[in-house]
Symmetry: C2
Subunit: 153 residues, 2 copies
């Protein structure tokens, strides 16, 4: 009987672990490649889904950040929408307070506005970025200071 | 001892069911409202996330279909990208064979092309639609025939 109980417990525990792991590990779109460009600190993975051009604009890409990863300050001449799909991040426009963004939030970065976005200190985050391309490429500015990044309470 | 085994089995089965249900039921963005417009058959829910305009284009919306739900034939003057986030659907451009699309697929509908998309017969589907607006509104055509819809093998 002891063996039977152990067998039932083992079988049920595998049923618990396996399907749940499969679901939590599941991503809808590929994580892509680890970014090697010099416009961010920390690990950021990028996967381009659509490349915008004169026939079809915008570009669409998935970005996945480790906790603490942050982009430099930058400008999108055509603006950008971020659809937050995982985790917790920060978003700040120049002259405004930084704010926390969460999975399910939709962030609209207006055209021409200096801003940055980042994963939070303790949680990574991921988003789908929708970026019009026909008004100009992203303009990269200075890195985000520790003071700005840590201004989140 | 029988009671003990039953208690263990019940406790473990609750551990299996509860966390997995929480994960599968979770949606990143709201499902939105059931569509009442006359350009589709079957149940389709819509949630507009971003409204495109001259300052920021495109529109971004989530659509969720019951199994069997299908849009009429239509044209996007600026094209459209569908990011399939759930389930299984069909996609057909005029003059081409219909094809199956799955969660994780990225479908690019070219500007000006007559096409339709639908949930499969046995599974609903959902997508994020990215639709440029400044080249004109969607042009709606005739309903998809049963012959076309059922042409999927």
């Amino acid at each position: 009987m002891r063996v039977t109980i152990q067998a039932i417990a083992l079988a049920l525990s595998m049923l618990i672990v396996l399907p749940c792991q499969a679901q939590t590990a599941e991503q809808i779109f590929p994580k892509g490649e680890l970014s090697t460009v010099k416009n961010h600190a920390g690990n950021i993975w990028l996967k381009e889904l659509v490349v915008g051009n004169a026939t079809f604009d915008p570009s669409v890409a998935v970005a996945t950040y480790d906790a603490g990863a942050r982009l430099d300050w930058h400008i999108h001449p055509g603006g950008q929408v971020l659809l937050i799909t995982e985790g917790v991040g920060y978003y700040q426009e120049r002259g405004k307070a930084a704010r926390i963004v969460h999975k399910g939030d939709v962030i609209q970065c207006p055209p021409g506005i200096e801003h940055w976005h980042a994963a939070s200190r303790t949680s990574g985050f991921a988003y789908i970025a929708v970026t019009p391309t026909q008004k100009g490429k992203t303009i990269w500015l200075e890195p985000v200071s520790d003071k700005d990044y840590n201004s989140m309470k």
